[in-house]
């Protein structure tokens, strides 16, 4: 149960952070006319290609006292980054990056240019246009980005295994817990935990998709535009 709550806390933090840093980055990726943009797009997609254990190993090295992240963190807080909840959040943000960015970019790009131009002609600045025109029309994409990064973080295993250190209540997430139970042949406990995870995830995803697809699209949109 502790592991499940930890996973949910981790996933919520990760989606919140990705929402905050993802919006401006996705906006830039969607509307910038810079020629070298494809390079940044490739970098964003990289975590999809790298095996989680490889990404995890690189992170572990980077977080170590000789790595750039580790040194910075040590200077700021006086302790290492690996085996901490913050370290896990950072690793998960990187690992789930494309899952948040790509739906956002697709949604922003899907907004009709004419509406954006009309808004500009009516005297609205860029931020106001984003807030009143682009964002309300992109709500399904934003929700998809949040749900995907949340779900991806809950189901994450390899990266957590590599940088977590399996500390109960700190880094022992539900996927690690289930794996441990399977490894020690406690199949009943593994089953119980896995089923609970499955049920909660299904319920969560159904609610979000239902709200997103049918009932709420207009409600959401008007709420955001207010």
């Amino acid at each position: 149960m502790e592991a499940l709550l930890l996973s949910l806390r981790l996933a919520l933090s990760v989606s919140a952070i990705l929402l905050v840093i993802g919006m401006p980055l996705a906006y830039w990726l969607a509307y910038s006319k810079w020629r070298g943009k494809f390079l940044l797009e490739s970098v964003v997609a990289l975590p999809l290609v790298l095996p989680p254990t490889v990404l995890g190993f690189y992170l572990l090295v980077a977080m170590g006292p000789r790595g750039p992240l580790g040194r910075m963190w040590y200077a700021l807080f006086g302790h290492g980054l690996a085996f901490t909840f913050s370290g896990l959040v950072l690793a998960s943000v990187l690992y789930s990056f494309p899952f948040a960015i790509q739906p956002l970019v697709a949604a922003f790009e899907g907004v009709d240019r004419k509406l954006i131009e009309a808004s500009a002609l009516l005297g609205a600045g860029r931020f106001r246009t984003f807030q009143r025109v682009i964002l309300p029309l992109s709500v399904p994409g934003v929700v998809t980005a949040m749900v995907l990064s949340f779900a991806h973080t809950v189901g994450e295993f390899g990266v957590v295994l590599m940088v977590g250190g399996n500390l109960p209540g700190v880094t022992r997430t539900v996927s690690i817990d289930v794996y441990d139970h399977v490894q020690s042949m406690e199949f009943a406990q593994a089953n119980r935990m896995a089923f609970l995870l499955l049920a909660i995830s299904f319920a969560f995803l159904s609610v979000v998709y239902a709200v997103n697809r049918r009932v709420g699209r207009r409600v959401w949109a008007s709420w955001v535009a207010r």
Partner: protein, 279 residues
Amino acid sequence: MRWGLRILFVVGLLCMSAPYSKPQVREIRVAAAADLSFAMPDLARQFEKQTRVKVSVTYGSSGNFYAQMQNGGPFDLFFSADIEYPRKLEAVGLAEPGTLYEYALGRIVIWAPVDSKLNLAMQGWQALLEPRVQKIAIANPQHAPYGRAALAALKNAGIYEQVKAKLVFGENIAQAAQFIQSGNADAGIIAMSLALSSAMRNGKCWEIPASMHPPIEQGMILLKSARDKDMARAFLEFVLSPTGKGILTKFGFSIPGTNSSSYRGLDRGSTPALVTTRS
């Protein structure tokens, strides 16, 4: 140009058919625990030289192999870091009766990177109590045999309560080693067989006396589903031969029956007289 292409085509065909036209090489398939990553290549090479039989080895966690073998995993021999797994395979009738051997005992060491300020040879256990040691990596005692041994040793040394909050757990002994090597943990308890590997050999290390932890019994067994039983048996015998034992000793295992110090359980007072140290 035309001819060039044609030649290329023919050469290509020859390349593709080459592996199939060769006479079948005899081969034994070995599932080996990760602590054998360094000893097994040597064992296999020597055996191949003697017999011309190819030994193809897959490394992994003993528990994973056990689960695979219960579901028909394609192996002839199983080398487990915990003799319980092959014992269970024998009990459920998946292994050839009478082929279970305890071929070695695992040894554990306290290990720290070469640039660490700890003096393991002098301090031994005390090193782990130093304030500069913030994280100590061990393998997960829930399912890794070396992790269980490490935990038992910490308890026997009487420092478990003091270091409990510093412990981090690797999924297996190799990952625990990685935690220390990358500098994220300051020290840890790992298998001697890993500490002797080329990547870690220059680190600091202090062997935990065998009397302070339950024996880490390495067990091997011949599986019923083996394709070439005679050859597989020959390999078992090779591992038990003086040559095989020599290789195992060289790579950080001890041979059962030859070690004088044995586990005395929760007997904290008895520090063994003979302790090998390296620094």
